[in-house]
Symmetry: C2
DNA sequence: AGAGCTACTTCAAGCGATTTAGTTGGCCTA
DNA sequence: TAGGCCAACTAAATCGCTTGAAGTAGCTCT
């Protein structure tokens, strides 16, 4: 069906009962296809058809189980009531939560959606928009997915790396998030803080990192470069799960023998990986190191210890994205370019007062967090 | 576009550049649409067209950026190169992992897919197959989703509750899985074992439960009813995450004051919830209670402690499902009714020797596992 | 020179709907 | 009784493509 498929009629199914067509239905009713079409399609002309006839038509449609052919209809209406969702990977918790919200909204409105996971593959990224347009999607939601050209349908993006005219962006307020996270750690007495910077190419990485940086500066806290590590380079980091990336990153941090009493992860999944690495190194969370996640994915409530995190209302953001997209599709040009979402601090069990406050920077502190 | 949508042309986009049509292209080339169609669609007649003409056509198609209209083409070919995936919830780890595998295979073959999460909602379950057929899907993959009628397209099911003629089922060998799990626990000296039975209505619940039951019996182990708990009733249990269900179930178990030194969960997510509940009750895993998961979702490698589990190769199963479906779509009637998948025991850190062996069933043992 | 090939290319119908521009017949009015 | 109007319906074009049947032009063959 797409250009890449040569025409091929060999598909075979056991028993393909011929679907009732408009013509069949019209013949059965001894009416013209026009009349039947008017009432079935809900055309304004339907009102010029006698009520009794309308009822006859609906009854017959029901009886013959008539279902309009979506493809034939498209030829005139140019509408498909479907959209596309592009994500790095269907499977990751962040995307999955968003998609859940998106579907919630779409299914209410009778829209269907195609999912494309590109995993950072350049060809897919380049060609997907076109193949999706071929399939008639009326709009697209880009989750953490780059784009750098105009598309003839409305777009809503959840991230910063989707470029194009007229797109609407749904963004978490990273400034607020950073303040929430940093102040929480400061209140607990942490000064030596490690930061897991998001993967290169991720749509939130730069803004988030910039905002944290700014916030630390504003609070007079110096983040040493040795206490900072990238979660990986895009798209290589897509080959691994975020938890793996977090694990590796935390290990790198530990190898550097630089002390830190708290760690801010890029998201919950990398936080979990990091906690795993800390545990493997014999460090206790939160007694030896406090860890902050970001996102508040459902699992965060059930980890041991439970994850302290900055909450993004992912499901809501998904719904908002879908709603906004439908709004744009239906012609509303007044949709703002940016919809900012407020994050929330969720204090659970992975952060605790800095136990090294008394002997800050002492050798003892170092070794206790450095065994193995 | 679907019957529920009255025809509506109000959709509006900023700038809809007219797509090149076959006719335009043919005019431009001063050829008939037929000729152009032959070569573009890869019809067998293409070979009767002069090579030089073919090249001209391709060049012009490239230049005018011609893309065949998928909907017009469908009218003749009846092919859409798309399938549907029905799941209880896109977001849960089990479905997400399967979908990942499915997508992997489909995207290689140029197929697209619609996802429908029904969350157990009866209307969606009843109507989805038809609305999906309206959209021309050539086959469907049912993940843990009930069905009880024939459909005019091939179906592959991952679970037991999808009924219908000619469907192919991909099933984990629960008998083998049970043997693996039970023997592992027996070798560790566990005799008092609690079991989290899957939610009612889940496609694996009955078979899995039956097989575990049988295996325990065969090994001469009695499972007390008080050490057994259902993860919830379908579809109510769908409102909660599996982790939540596992948490609640483990709490129920603990309230019963019946002792157990090991717990077999229905899946990894419920195992994580259960571990959370055990921890909250002051019990250590695996020192006080060993816990076995099922699935081996990616997170299992990063929990503290790492989860011992029975591995299902979810991504592979997804790929197999998609591959099998495409096979059936292309007319292969020789596909087996059941494809059995072999599970694998993955021993990690949530299982350990029974520390109560010496004072088995003693009061001491009981209280040590019952504090708070 | 006419029949028969071969190598290319096109005509025109049709897929299953929507939609524009009518037609038909009854009734009312002047 | 002609004209106009209205309610109720329809013929035929069209959307963008595929496809079976039908040309056409140039060559060879006898």
């Amino acid at each position: 069906m797409s250009p890449r498929h040569p025409v091929d009629n060999s598909a075979h199914t056991v028993h393909k009962p011929a679907r009732t067509t408009l013509k069949t239905l019209a013949n059965h009713l001894e009416l013209s296809p026009t009349t039947v079409s008017f009432v079935i399609s809900g055309s304004p002309f339907a009102e010029t058809i006698a009520k009794s006839t309308r009822e006859r038509i609906w009854a017959a449609a029901e009886k013959l189980n008539y279902r309009p052919n979506v493809f034939a209809r498209y030829l005139h209406t140019k509408r498909t009531y479907s959209v596309a969702v592009l994500v790095p990977d269907v499977g990751d918790e962040y995307s999955a939560a968003l998609i859940g919200g998106i579907e919630n909204c779409l299914s209410k409105k009778g829209f269907f959606y195609f999912v494309v996971s590109h995993r950072g593959a350049p060809d897919l990224l380049r060609m997907s928009p076109d193949t999706l347009l071929d399939r008639g999607v009326e709009g697209m939601i880009f989750i953490n997915t780059p784009l750098n050209r105009a598309l003839p349908v409305p777009i809503v993006a959840i991230c910063d790396i989707t470029e194009g005219p007229g797109i609407t962006r749904i963004k978490i307020d990273n400034g607020k998030a950073a303040t929430l996270a940093v102040d929480h750690l400061l209140e607990l007495g942490h000064r030596d803080i490690a930061v897991l910077k998001g993967p290169e190419g991720n749509g939130d990485t730069d803004d988030r990192w910039g905002q944290f940086h700014k916030t630390f500066q504003r609070r007079g806290i110096k983040i040493r470069p040795e206490n900072t590590v990238h979660l990986g380079v895009y798209p290589a980091c897509n080959e691994k799960t975020m938890a793996e990336n977090g694990y590796d990153a935390a290990q790198k941090l530990l190898e550097r023998k630089r002390m830190f009493t708290a760690l801010v992860a890029f998201n919950d999944a990398s936080a979990m990986g990091a906690i795993r690495a800390l545990s493997d190194a014999g460090l206790r969370v939160p007694e030896d190191v406090s860890v902050m996640g970001f996102d508040d994915i459902p699992q965060s409530l059930f980890t041991v210890p439970r994850l302290t995190t900055i909450r993004q209302p992912l499901s809501y953001m998904g719904e908002l994205a879908a709603n906004t997209l439908l709004e744009k599709i239906s012609g509303n040009n007044g949709v703002p370019k940016i919809l900012k979402i407020q994050p929330e601090l969720v204090v659970r069990e992975t952060t605790a007062p800095n136990s090294h406050l008394s002997h800050k920077n002492s050798a003892a502190g170092k070794t206790s967090r450095r065994s193995r």
